[in-house]
């Protein structure tokens, strides 16, 4: 959004992360505004997933803090969680449940009570697989089951760790369009990916670079 007063949704304040006695990043600060699509870049092991987990509040940083609309996320966890949609590189899809049951569960646990699971699944091309156990689906379909939540949410902050893994080209384009629409609605997307994106141009995409450091 090109508002004159962009709202800051999430900001990182001097984050430091240490894993296995290696400093992944040090004093990292940034603000993410409504309407931003942010890609965290860096080689394997640079700390992209660690950074996403810290922003989501799953891990604690060694130093520094993550702010949601100016408040530390550990102090306003309920409001933050209500506004946050996080998809890790583990999809959180139960292989013993069908695609529809999985979606039903993840939407209800996020608090939604009125939705049409079949309609949402059709948006991720899973029509005809609603009754299939997620364990019997292909890797891409498995991933799509998790991604289906993106089509029914009013969370503004999306944190997505490698959302395009195992998704075909057409699916990636659909997701990119969804991200753009989400950013236009005043949301933000924070993600990592190694794939090139065709729809989201460089003008729309903000990048945060992490380097692999030997310290």
């Amino acid at each position: 959004m090109t508002d004159s007063h962009p709202t800051t949704l999430v900001s990182a304040d001097a984050l430091t992360c240490i894993r296995e006695e290696r400093i992944l990043f040090d004093e990292l600060s940034f603000d993410i505004q409504a309407g931003d699509i942010v890609q965290i870049e860096g080689p394997n092991g640079a700390g992209k997933t660690s950074l996403l987990r810290i922003i989501a509040g799953l891990s604690r940083p060694y130093a520094g803090e993550v702010l949601y609309q100016g408040d530390n996320i550990t102090r306003c966890r309920d409001e933050f969680n209500e506004d946050l949609l996080y998809l890790g590189h583990l999809a959180g899809v139960k292989s013993e449940l069908t695609a529809e049951e999985n979606l039903n569960f993840s939407l209800r646990i996020s608090g939604y009570d009125e939705f049409e699971p079949r309609e949402i699944l059709s948006k991720v091309n899973l029509t005809g697989f609603e009754e299939a156990l997620a364990g019997h689906l292909s890797a891409g379909q498995h991933r799509r089951t998790a991604l289906a939540r993106l089509w029914h949410t009013n969370c503004r902050i999306w944190i997505l760790d490698e959302p395009f893994t195992a998704i075909d080209k057409k699916g990636v384009e659909e997701l990119e369009q969804l991200f753009l629409a989400h950013a236009d609605r005043g949301g933000c997307v924070i993600m990592t990916t190694h794939q090139d994106m065709s729809k989201i141009g460089d003008d729309k995409l903000r990048k945060i670079k992490l380097d692999y450091r030997f310290v």
Binding site: G57, L58, V93, D113
Partner: protein
């Protein structure tokens, strides 16, 4: 896009999901039950079939076997959810974490604790338990096994991130199980001698109420630490 799920609804959503998964994965239910039955039936073979001796040790055997069976089944409580990322989603859910973990623990107890309670009187016959003790046996198991699940879940939550957490888990939670074992067997013994066992039962009930209220918070906090 209304968000109108109440706490009770989210509790039952999770409970229903866990029960459904368990029904599709039946081995998980039968394993602890089979263990319980085997331990109890092997004892008369080991110590000899003398009825008096058996009825003397019956309360202890049944309770120790139930305790170990419950511990054996606990390790899987959060493991699968941790491995496939559902646990992260639960931690980030806008619903209060203690309610969600309470649903998981109760689902676990329904699947592993309740079958033990139902089969226990049958096994008590094999061990020639005193006629008067059956009521006490059922009452202590009904009040005691949920305590085992709730306390054990704290240990499981603390060790879920470890690759080989099994040994640590036993060391962590066995000391917490001992009071339940002492009061339960003492109640059954008292009942066998036609004494009043209300006191012991009240203490186990107090432990149940205490852990029902406090354990979900401890489990939630432990899960946050483990997934850090």
């Amino acid at each position: 896009m209304q968000r109108g799920i109440s706490y009770t609804q989210s509790f039952f959503t999770l409970l229903q999901r866990d029960l459904r998964i368990a029904v599709r994965h039946r081995g998980d239910i039968f394993n602890p039950l089979l263990f319980f039955i085997m331990v109890v039936t092997l004892f008369p073979l080991g110590v000899g079939p003398e009825p008096q001796m058996l009825s003397r040790i019956a309360p202890g055997i049944i309770w120790v076997a139930a305790l170990l069976a419950s511990m054996l089944s606990l390790e899987r409580l959060f493991k699968a959810d941790f491995m496939d990322g559902s646990l992260e989603q639960m931690l980030l859910s806008p619903q209060p974490l203690p309610i969600l973990v309470l649903a998981k623990v109760i689902a676990h107890w329904l699947l592993t604790g309740v079958p033990l309670i139902l089969i226990a009187p049958l096994l008590a016959v094999l061990l020639n338990l005193e006629q008067n003790s059956y009521g006490a046996l059922m009452a202590t198991l009904a009040l005691g096994t949920p305590v085992l699940s709730l306390l054990g879940a704290i240990g499981v939550a603390l060790t879920v991130g470890l690759r080989k957490g099994g040994v640590l888990l036993s060391l962590l939670i066995l000391p917490l199980y001992i009071p339940v074992l002492i009061f339960a067997t003492s109640a059954i013994d008292a009942a066998g001698m036609n004494l009043n066992y209300g006191g012991q039962l009240a203490i186990i009930a107090a432990m149940l109420v205490g852990s029902l209220v406090l354990a979900p918070f401890a489990i939630g906090a432990s899960l946050r630490v483990s997934t850090n």
